[in-house]
């Protein structure tokens, strides 16, 4: 009698399959959304810190030095840019996937809906968690405009060249782009910054719940930190089109 022993070839092909399977479930995808979101929050802190150098009253010296130092690290910058782009794309693709599935989960809607959450009724329709997809799309549009403005320099020669044809300094570039005559940038950046505020107001604390972090000691703190973070980042970025641009 031959006893057949099941070989383990089935197990070999599962080297990383378990991970891919797990990340493709509704819970797994939300985890990826949370992790990419939090990592992108880290980038926002670094970016805002760099931008705040615009406020050093030295005619742009600190800001220019910072920009040069950053661009000298060509290899590191390339890695960082590819990494950030990857995070952003993953965040967007999964968010779109999740929202289309969420819509499919209720094909026929209600004639009437009313929240049962205390204090929410007055806020009905205005809470940031209702608008994550919309604020996310606005922030994406803002990022595209911002990259067009600063990275790809696609807004016309006048913004990026001196009269003699030489390139302007980074500080001059910011001044040219964020001038009151360039309304697209001023309005776009202001709206984008406030959309970012709304997006973070829900997203930051929500990411912790998705990662399983809900604790009577820490959750109230996480919610508070999330709100303060959202306001600091959103208002921080909004000051450049709304305040800094006016003072130059």
């Amino acid at each position: 009698m031959i006893i057949q022993i099941k070989n383990d070839s089935a197990e070999k092909e599962t080297t990383l399959r378990w991970l891919l399977n797990a990340l493709s479930t509704s819970v797994g995808r939300k985890v990826v959304l949370a992790i990419t979101g939090l990592l992108l929050c880290g980038f926002l802190v670094a970016h805002l810190a760099g931008n705040l150098l615009l406020y050093v009253g030295d005619g742009g010296k600190s800001y220019n030095e910072y920009a040069h130092a950053l661009h000298e690290q060509a290899a590191l910058l390339a890695v960082a840019e590819i990494g950030l782009f990857g995070l952003l794309i993953a965040h967007i693709v999964i968010a779109l996937q999740v929202s289309s599935e969420n819509r499919a989960a209720r094909k026929v809607g209600y004639a009437v809906t009313r929240s049962k959450q205390e204090g929410r009724y007055a806020m009905e329709g205005y809470r940031p968690d209702t608008w994550m997809l919309v604020t996310g799309i606005i922030v994406l549009a803002f990022i595209i405009l911002h990259l067009m403005d600063f990275k790809f320099e696609g807004r016309g020669e006048a913004f990026y060249k001196n009269a003699d044809g030489s390139a302007v300094t980074p500080f001059e570039k910011a001044k040219n782009l964020l001038s009151t005559s360039n309304l697209i940038t001023i309005v776009g950046y202001a709206v984008g910054s406030f959309a970012l505020l709304a997006h973070l107001a829900h997203g930051f604390q929500s990411a912790f719940q998705t990662l399983g972090i809900n604790h009577p000691k820490y959750t109230p703190l996480i919610k508070l930190v999330g709100l303060v973070f959202a306001i600091a980042i959103g208002v921080g970025f909004a000051t450049f089109p709304l305040i800094w641009s006016m003072s130059h």
Binding site: T14, W18, L19, N21, A22, T25, S26, V27, G28, R29, K30, V31, V98, E101, N102, A104, A105, R106, K107, V108, G109, Y110, A111, V112, T113, R114, S115, K116, Q117, E118, R120, R127, D129, T130, M132, H202, Q205, S206, Q209, T210, L211, G212, I213, N214
Partner: protein
């Protein structure tokens, strides 16, 4: 002593003859409804009237009528189980409404809960999620001596609070994504917190999540409307526990995902 004055109400009720039939709202005038009636008794009165006028009675789910079976449902003026917190529709009373009110009554709306007829929906998707892993399959034999298996009081309480879920589906109905995360998290938590649930912990959560996805429920976006709608007041901290259990199963467990 019962209240002396009855309520006159206008009901707008979703009528749908069958699963694939087109539905519509129909309006019914109710006269002299006692404020002491439960909401379901009010619907019983309506159905008596409809039978007398030879119209098909309104189909709605109900069973124990004392708030423990999880059979009743109804979206009442846009709120699952009506305006009261921690209350099922059968425990909602007409004194909560005022004379002259219009009440809109809809079935649970979710692709995973198809309408059978009128206000009755098919919630068997919940049963299939439980079948996928919401149980303990070890043979426990006779009940042990009370103190053989020590369980801390806080764990007992948390497990019991999760086990309060009656599986009515209000969480799905109230969620903007028709997500079943609160239900699944309650069923995962009640067992994950106890030693009896330990041996199948990883398998349970991965299978139940897989079944939940297969049924076509939406994902959780942490809006917490489920918690407010839950008649058993199941906490969203269970959803975080489900996420934790899931991550633990994926990252640590040797059981295949």
């Amino acid at each position: 002593m019962s209240s002396s004055r009855g309520l006159n109400l206008t009901l707008k009720i979703w009528r749908q003859p069958g699963p694939n039939a087109r539905g519509e709202f129909r309006t019914y005038e109710m006269k002299n409804i006692s404020p002491d009636m439960s909401f379901l008794e009010m619907l019983d009165v309506l159905n008596e009237q409809l039978i007398q006028t030879k119209e098909e009675p309104v189909a709605f789910d109900h069973d124990c009528r004392e708030g423990i079976c999880g059979m009743c449902s109804l979206m009442i003026n846009g709120q699952a189980h009506g305006p009261d917190r921690a209350t099922t529709t059968c425990q909602l009373h007409m004194r909560r409404f005022s004379d002259g009110d219009t009440i809109v009554i809809e079935p649970w709306r979710a692709s995973a809960f198809p309408v059978i007829r009128d206000l009755a929906t098919d919630r068997a998707a919940f049963d299939r999620i439980i079948t996928a892993g919401g149980y303990v399959s070890v043979n426990t034999g006779n009940a042990q001596d009370a103190n053989c298996l020590p369980v801390g009081r806080d764990r007992q309480e948390k497990s019991m609070a999760a086990a309060a879920c009656i599986g009515c589906g209000a969480c799905v109905a109230a969620c903007k994504n028709a997500s079943a995360m609160l239900f699944v998290s309650a069923k995962v938590s009640q067992l994950a917190l106890l030693p009896q649930g330990e041996p199948e912990r990883a398998r349970r959560v991965t299978r139940m999540v897989a079944q939940m996805d297969k049924e076509g429920f939406g994902g959780c976006t942490n809006t917490y409307e489920c918690e407010a709608a839950c008649p058993a007041e199941v906490s969203v901290s269970n959803i975080a526990r489900l996420n934790r259990e899931y991550l633990r199963a994926v990252v640590v467990s040797e059981e295949g995902v």
